[in-house]
């Protein structure tokens, strides 16, 4: 597949030499030709990169083999139909001048470029609204630059007003003072959040209302920006696992697995069969957990509190199993590079089967209340519709994208951990409304349970950790009795697992969509740079497209239906 992409790129861009890194094709482009190349990548039917997954930058200030330009901007693109993954890299000699914006090509670029500007101070020329996104408006400097001190906090004294932004958004839709005078009414501005029960965390949804209809909407995020990426640059690879727990804390173990999978892919580590099956079982079990919380909260927003008890109580009961296995309820930190922290405990199959049955019962009870319920149908069908084109342009992935009818799922399209051997199907919606988003999640719960049951039957016996001294800690008797064992243990703990120098991207189908990790390694045991591609960030970036023209109450349940998790959104 990738070969044909390389051939096509060679024909279209004769002076660019494509490289292949893992399953990703990489091309280097000079900043001047970025607008033209990006436009061709998106619009040429032969290429058709309809998704912009992520934009990030690298600061090479302290990199051992420092290139001529200090900064480099990296665009990650995907053609989901042909399963092509492409990274476009461009050097930035002068961050003030920067590079041309691609926000007119992909909706996702709007927020992605703002983040790069905020964190690295790279200018994107002709960007519609280039301002800070994760850090507060009174912040000075750019924290992910290597010369910014990690401990240098800056106090924010008041919240941003956002008034200019919402007026600009209104103007872009052709609504100004005179329109309002014509219909003899006044626009009302309403804040939902940052502290509001409907935001399920801390997000600010700022709306301009005519009556109860949303005329324009701008959103502010970054309230839970905890500096994941900067902190990760100061931790060894294994020390980052607890940080990944706190990205999407509703399905912590999935982040653990996605992260170690990305590191292992670069190391070329083949984990043991049993570890692979464990990861599949736990991934799918946590996918169920994530969907349970999302649906429970969403139905509470709609007034269906009973559903909360039916769904959340099963999640609560699952915590007993999870705590027995990992020692923690929420933040599991259960994976290690090269395998799993430990094997399943004795008798886990019975516990798991019992729990799956309980979940099925809870979900079926809830479905009895929801599926044929006229009120739920009226409330959710045809509201906040997302078209497949908008969804792809804004970089939606996971259940939100599939609800629009796009059947893209990394487990099927780019299988890892033997997913091709399991019998399951990928539920897709047809309308892309709130109802579809809910129902896709309900269906995915049943599909995931199916996968868990199959994997439980097939899981082989054996070790859960690779036998490789580069990543695995030596057994304790060697640490205490042999100098080689002691030195090996010491180096792995203090220096970390060493990765070869280079850059790579690897992704994983998390509960909310494509969770990607972009690494830059300088050959040491600490990542030089680690960027997370969070599915939530891009779902929130297209939120205004879904709610403009709808009622304010629909915005609330729509936010619940796309499942925004603050930890992952703001990192």
């Amino acid at each position: 597949m990738t070969d044909s992409l390389t051939d096509k790129l060679k024909v279209l861009f004769p002076d660019i030499e494509p490289r292949t890194v893992l399953d990703c094709t990489v091309i280097d482009v000079d900043p001047g030709s970025v607008p033209q190349v990006m436009e061709q990548l998106k619009t040429y039917p032969d290429l058709g990169f309809s998704m912009l997954l992520d934009i990030t930058a690298v600061d090479y200030l302290t990199y051992p083999q420092r290139p001529a330009a200090r900064f480099c901007v990296v665009y990650t693109l995907r053609n989901w139909e042909r399963n092509w993954l492409l990274q476009v890299r461009t050097p930035i000699p002068d961050p003030e001048w920067g590079v041309e914006s691609v926000a007119h090509l992909w909706g996702a670029a709007d927020w992605a470029e703002r983040e790069v500007y905020d964190q690295y101070g790279i200018n994107f020329r002709n960007h519609p609204d280039l301002r800070r996104i994760l850090n507060h408006w009174q912040f000075e400097g750019h924290p992910l630059r290597k010369d910014y001190d990690i401990f240098k906090g800056q106090i924010c004294y008041e919240a941003d007003r956002l008034e200019d932004e919402i007026r600009a958004r209104l103007a872009s839709k052709g609504i100004d003072e005179s329109t309002m005078q014509d219909i003899n009414t006044e626009m009302m501005f309403l804040n939902l959040g940052p502290s509001h029960p409907a935001t399920h965390g801390a997000i600010r949804i700022f709306t301009a209302l005519d009556g109860e209809t949303i005329m324009a909407n701008v959103n502010e995020i970054g309230y839970l920006h905890r500096g994941f990426e900067k902190t990760a640059e100061n931790r060894t690879y294994n020390q980052i696992i607890p940080l990944t727990d706190r990205l999407n804390y509703c399905s912590a173990l999935m982040n653990n697995i996605g992260y170690v999978k990305a590191v292992e892919s670069w190391l070329g580590l083949e984990i043991t069969e049993r570890a692979m099956f464990m990861r599949v079982i736990l991934s799918e079990f946590f996918r169920v957990q994530d969907h349970l919380v999302c649906l429970a909260a969403n139905l509470v927003d709609m007034g269906g509190l009973t559903n909360y008890w039916y769904l959340y109580n099963e999640k609560e009961a699952s915590y007993d199993l999870i705590a027995r296995l990992t020692g923690a309820r929420l933040t599991s930190s259960f994976t290690r590079i090269g395998g799993m922290y430990r094997d399943f405990y004795e008798g886990w199959q019975e516990d798991m089967e019992q729990q799956l049955k309980a979940i099925e019962k809870g979900v079926n009870d809830s479905l009895k209340l929801v599926l044929q319920n006229r009120i739920v149908h009226d409330r959710t069908q045809g509201t906040c519709v997302l078209t497949p084109e908008t969804a792809l342009s804004y970089g939606y992935t996971g259940p939100n994208l599939r609800s629009t009818g796009v059947s893209f799922d990394l487990r099927k399209d780019s299988p890892y951990y033997n997913y091709e051997a399991f019998d399951f199907y990928v539920p897709v919606g047809s309308q892309g409304d709130i109802y579809d988003r809910m129902m896709v999640r309900f269906e995915e719960i049943f599909e995931s349970i199916k996968i868990v049951r199959q994997a439980m039957k097939m899981i082989p016996e054996g070790p859960v950790f690779v036998d490789d001294h580069r990543v695995a800690l030596p057994p304790k008797d060697q640490v205490y009795n042999k100098i080689e064992g002691l030195a090996n243990h010491f180096k792995l703990i203090f220096e970390g697992v060493k990765t070869p120098a280079g850059e790579w991207y690897n992704s994983y189908e998390a509960a909310n969509g494509e969770l990607g990790f972009h690494f830059v390694s300088d050959g040491s045991g600490t990542p030089y740079k680690l960027k997370v591609r969070p599915p939530c960030f891009y779902a929130m970036g297209g939120f205004h497209e879904m709610i403009e023209g709808e009622m304010i109450a629909d915005a609330v349940i729509n936010l619940g239906s796309i499942n925004i998790i603050g930890g992952e959104l703001d990192r």
């Binding site: 994760l134 507060h136 910014y148 990690i150 970054g222 920006h225 804390y249 909360y308």
Partner: protein, 170 residues
């Protein structure tokens, strides 16, 4: 056996001290305002759900309007961007009000010792009870609630709480 004035009035009247009767009422009808930002808020959800059932302690009426609440539960990381909002919500709560700092992040910044995280909310608002853990178990939330109840018992309704607190945003 009642003595003095009470003996004369029979069983129709109960005498007590003002502090005691008001504090007794306050203790068992705390209305929490959940300032949930991160992972800890999920564990608060568990504390409120059937298994741990916070209503056994009279604190199940979760108010999302600070004006109707007297117990603030700060569940999750507070960033510098969030701090002015936290302060504003706290200021909107009527007196008397109590604050619980739930989890490592709210109490000290936790594992996030970096440029964007407030290193403990006591730098912004006064805190009454801290809960350790990342995230704490729901039982710890109930424990904190009981500690607040004990604290209320010892206070006087005539004394203003935290009158001279000064945080980084004051």
């Amino acid at each position: 056996m009642a003595l003095g004035l009470e003996a004369g009035l029979g069983e129709s009247v109960l005498t007590t001290r003002l502090d005691e009767i008001i504090n007794w009422g306050r203790q068992y009808s705390l209305w929490p305002m959940v300032f949930g930002t991160a992972c800890c808020a999920i564990e608060f959800m568990s504390a409120a759900a059937s298994q741990h059932d916070i209503s056994r302690f009279g604190a199940e009426v979760v108010r999302f309007s600070p004006r109707q609440a007297d117990l603030m539960l700060v569940c999750g990381t507070i960033s510098y961007k969030q701090a002015p909002i936290l302060k504003r919500i706290y200021d909107q709560m009527p007196d008397p009000r109590w604050v619980v700092s739930m989890g490592a992040c709210a109490s000290s910044g936790g594992i996030y010792d970096n440029y964007c995280t407030v290193q403990g909310i006591h730098t912004v608002i006064p805190v009454d009870v801290y809960i350790s853990g990342c995230p704490p178990r729901p039982e710890a939330v109930l424990d904190a609630l009981m500690k607040i109840q004990e604290k209320i018992q010892t206070e006087s309704v005539l004394v203003d709480r935290h009158k001279d607190f000064k945080g980084i945003l004051d």
